[in-house]
Symmetry: C2
Subunit: 455 residues, 2 copies
């Protein structure tokens, strides 16, 4: 029944997903505030259209949507919270997109557009699974609450407060999140750890205005050079972060994890080729998967300063600015990392320039159990719908809210990613494989049944 | 007669200068190509309007204007070439201008707008002096040729070829250039040396597209960080340029120069305050004036890469780019410096990123005699019109064409600057003091007479 409903309505679902993707719900850019609100409204209306009780909660940031199935009559019916986010990354650089980022296009079994895989397409598979139960009047084996936020790409600030305030109301036995990727399209995947993040802005101010580099050059510090020196001093020649104390709280990778990662088929050359680099680079002493999944990073996300137009402009720029993010692993604290980086930069910054540091927030890494009851149910659901036993991996990306869920809601967190490594998250030409969307809907329906049976 | 003519027509001259400044003749930006052509046409028409023979020479770049007075009947009349440039620096950053950069405004005896002092206002003073001779039918004591180019701010490429090809036609006994600044408004100034320049673009390419900094972070070199490391490695902690061989051809400052510079009233604190910096910084072992006038530099003019909008974007950027200029002193060669910098960067660049280097050209420093016949005439003219004996200084800025003039035209080069240190060359709110424009016209008329008398 459910399987039939899903396959009969597939075309309609994809059209609905396209509608959802047409909202340029870019949380990082204030200009898109209206699009964010319109996207949330559309979603609320959509959840209501197949019988969920929906509430849109305004916040200081973007609205949070909570949609619940009506409570099952059985008293001990397990409860499942399905998390997702309707905000997306900025689409820039626009010139590298093969299609407009907010005009989704289906091509060769793939749906292209910003948000296709991160995260609209993924959470939508769960939405459609629940719809299938309701529309086919199949009894739902669990009570489901959807919790869909609009600030994941900017640190989930509002949701963090929301979850803390409404912990009792949101409490669930299982928390299901599809906001990760499969190891490959042949490897259904359960993720048991994600990295955290600490984000900062670094600004170096020199002269009060751009100066003629001939008339004044040599007598005054170049703030862009000073910035380059500060940034360069943060990572040493072996790829280790040179900020004192940075590694103090890092939980080392366990033997079983390192052994397991090594068993995964990972082709370094194909990976380098896929990224378009001549050779890989990272912290000495670790494999590529270990570096991506289990080690912290210091990354410059962007830099700007002085003249950037065509030709030359012979100036000493007035200032230079960089955006930095550090990926964190258990048990690093974003506040401490930010403090350490700030102290270090202040210590090494020369007095001839002015250093400005701002926090863009952060959150801790997540580390769950690879052997809980919910994870075992997900393994069954994945095997049944993808035809293979899942692999257990960590994830280099961050899900800001997981640590908050863990601390405040208490249920078992299950990360079943439907993305693929080549989905171009945060990059131009983001896409979702529609085969994964199809299997994802079925997997979700199966998972809800398995979780219901586990009670 | 001449003095009366100049003071009677002052208002009209300033209006004409404003017309000239309204052309956004930005040579670095291809979008302004039409404005360049329109500006050259306006000038040609203007020179013709008071009786000069004008020719506008098309080039591969921007037109070169040559305007001649009709030859004086005396056979041994000295010839004077007056050089200037009608192109200007880009006006960016626009938000720091107190007025639109190409809508000149007179305020408190100052004329504000891009090009006011660098160089439209300065060469225009000479134009008006010659006009005064012609309109008052005062016999011109010298034959004057104006040579006005449109690529000074981008390296004078076309003029360099032009001067080489037409050396015979342009040859003059004296070459007068007002494209420098006075030491202060109380110090009429003769400049006997300027710095050269070598300009380059450095680009570091990493992954073929921006990557998710979580999913991929740690396994691939960050090209902006790699760029920062390369740039940081170019200057050491003592402010010395760390590129091997960089100083090999530097002609050391002479004792008499260092002694003379020390005699000039120079207030470091006032200078730092003027630039808006807390403290000055430069190569150890040299005074501020020595660093500006007699030592080479390594300057980053601009840097760009990755996400630069509001908030954060958690990417590893695909590339980073910087613009670099080195100011050169005698006897450094721009080609050799560019080669040394390129070799050094290639040597230290890791293989995990791709290094791209492009040349933006360069030219040698100029070093003339502080005691030639023309310079002595200029000293007389300055004393008579500014009421003080001039000081002899070097200049940190560059005049690309001087070395070419010296090598191909052979006349004595006289640098009599009418700019002031606070004229904001290459910066927002460029201006010219109209008192200097007034005295400049008189000084020019006097200089032409003195040069004529020197025959």
């Amino acid at each position: 029944m459910i399987q039939e409903y899903l396959s009969q309505h597939r075309g309609q679902f994809i059209e609905q997903l396209k509608c959802l993707m047409r909202f340029p719900s870019v949380s990082a850019q204030p200009a898109h505030r209206r699009d964010i609100l319109a996207c949330a409204d559309w979603l609320a209306h959509h959840f209501g259209s197949f019988g969920l009780d929906v509430k849109l909660y305004p916040t200081k940031g973007n609205p949070i949507l909570v949609a619940r199935t009506r409570r099952a009559p059985r008293a001990n019916t397990p409860s499942v919270l399905v998390y997702g986010h309707y905000d997306v990354q900025p689409p820039e650089p626009l010139d590298l997109w093969k299609m407009p980022p907010f005009e989704p296009v289906e091509r060769g079994g793939k749906l292209f557009g910003r948000g296709a895989s991160d995260n609209k397409g993924q959470f939508f598979a769960h939405v459609k699974a629940v719809e299938a139960y309701l529309k086919t009047r199949t009894p739902l084996p669990v009570n489901v609450t959807f919790l869909i936020e609009g600030e994941e790409e900017v640190g989930s600030t509002s949701l963090i407060a929301f979850v803390r305030q409404r912990a009792r109301q949101l409490r669930a036995d299982y928390i299901v999140v599809s906001d990760t990727s499969m190891f490959s399209k042949d490897h259904p995947t359960i993720t048991y750890a994600t990295r955290g993040i600490a984000a900062m802005g670094v600004r170096v101010d020199g002269p009060s205005r751009d100066l003629h580099s001939g008339v004044f050059g040599g007598s005054v510090a170049n703030p862009v050079l000073a910035l380059a020196r500060l940034l360069a001093a943060c990572v040493d020649a072996r790829g280790r972060i040179a900020v004192p104390g940075f590694y103090d709280d890092v939980r080392p990778l366990q033997k079983w994890e390192r052994a397991q990662f090594r068993r995964l088929p990972f082709d370094e050359r194909a990976y380098a080729h896929f990224l378009g680099v001549h050779s890989l680079e990272g912290e000495k002493g670790y494999t590529t998967l270990e570096r991506r999944w289990g080690r912290p990073t210091f990354e410059i996300n962007g830099i700007t300063g002085g003249y950037q137009g065509p030709g030359t402009k012979t100036i000493i720029p007035a200032w230079g600015e960089a955006k930095i993010t550090c990926r964190l692993v258990p048990d690093q604290s974003p506040e401490k990392i930010e403090r350490l980086v700030s102290q270090y930069l202040r210590r090494i910054c020369p007095s001839s320039v002015k250093l400005g540091l701002i926090s863009h927030g952060g959150y801790r890494a997540f580390h769950g159990s690879p052997s809980g009851r919910g994870v075992r149910a997900a393994a069954v659901a994945l095997k049944r719908t993808f035809g293979r036993k899942p692999v257990f991996v960590r994830e280099g990306g961050s899900l800001p809210i997981l640590d908050i869920f863990k601390r405040h809601l208490g249920g078992e967190i299950i990360l079943v990613g439907l993305g693929l490594p080549d989905d171009n998250w945060h990059s131009p030409n983001e896409k979702m494989d529609l085969a994964n969307f199809d299997r994802g809907m079925l997997m979700s329906a199966t998972l809800l049944r398995e979780l219901g049976a586990s009670a």
